[in-house]
Symmetry: C2
């Protein structure tokens, strides 16, 4: 009994403060360029204290990933209950997606990198699971929207959810990546937004037009 609650709370606060400091630095300079000493200074701690809360620099990085993904999840989690049409849901989804990642390009970069190099990051299996689980949740929302579309007769009954979820996901990621590659986001937000909007509508229209036709094969 006793004061554990307060101590737990304060320990957690400290941890969050470290993560805030680390996140800012990672965001500004990228993983490699940031030293643990810098993170410690920004958090007004010594380097040793950092290792009371995290096993390694990479673990910090991973937890930031988890936090940010969780924040994103929270944003999109209400979509399914909105009662909008599936198309509108996807449009809203993409808006959130864009807003979020244009506002946090480092996270986007990290996520894409993680997707591309899961093995290389050789994190503890448990961490890996967490991230995978988190991204799965995101996928679920997309599939959920597709399912609603199916239930409402807007999409074919027999489509492969995974395939089209991936298609839409890829569309978003691909366009954003391209955008980040070709230019700064600041003055081109309108372009990327309308590009995605338009592509998405085209894709969904295409999908809807198959309602009468037969199913796709499993991949």
């Amino acid at each position: 009994m006793g004061l554990e609650e307060r101590r737990r709370r304060e320990k957690d606060n400290r941890k969050q403060a470290i993560l805030r400091a680390a996140r800012k630095l990672f965001f500004d300079r990228g993983f490699k360029a940031v030293t643990v000493e810098q993170i410690a200074r920004r958090a007004e701690l010594s380097k040793g204290a950092i290792y009371l809360h995290f096993r390694s620099k990479e673990e910090m990085y991973t937890q930031i990933l988890l936090n940010d993904i969780a924040a994103f999840q929270k944003k999109i989690s209400t979509l399914l209950q909105s009662g909008d049409s599936p198309t509108d849901m996807f449009v809203k989804f993409s808006r959130i997606y864009i807003d979020f990642f244009l506002n946090d390009r480092e996270l986007f970069r990290i996520l894409m990198t993680f997707m591309l190099n899961t093995e290389q990051m050789n994190l503890p299996a448990q961490m890996n699971d967490h991230i995978v689980k988190a991204t799965n949740k995101q996928a679920e929302v997309m599939e959920g929207i597709l399912q609603i579309g199916i239930d409402q007769g807007q999409f074919p009954k027999t489509i492969n959810l995974r395939r089209y979820r991936n298609a839409i996901w890829g569309l978003l990621n691909g366009i954003i990546s391209l955008h980040l590659f070709t230019g700064r986001a600041d003055n081109r937000e309108g372009i990327i937004r309308s590009t995605i909007d338009d592509s998405l509508q085209v894709f969904l229209r295409g999908l809807a037009s198959e309602v009468v036709k037969g199913p796709k094969k499993e991949e």
Copy 2:
């Protein structure tokens, strides 16, 4: 070099948190009725931790006194620069005095008790000095107002500052004490306020009327 600044800040925060907890309890139940354990619990700490920040229960009590007196000082410290007439300054002074102590009767009780029993509380001499110094500051303001009155020709040039400062101080304290003794403040604020207002004006008028006459003897 290093993180001392942050540690100092956090240590001070902790100390203030303890004082807040202690103050609330002392205010509600009085010094004797409060146990150190209760203070610790309210501050979400163990009893032992309390003694890292304070040498004794009484030291806590004393520091609360100092804090509250300091807050009061701050309130009255601007009076001298207000440019009001001395009489108005005293009226304002008394308003602040009443507001403050009706809002914090325990502090008033404590202060009066301390004034009456400085020795009995046998605090470290240094602490004693602090409190005495603080109350002296308060006295200074009153003497300052009197001095302004003298400079402006409203009060006799030769009055004994200490005597009249004490008279006014005593007037305020006495009426408030009486009031606390005879009834609850809530529904009698108007009465105590007008009583003090009126008595104060009478006293100051009396003092002003002596401008032409000779000085009082030193006491």
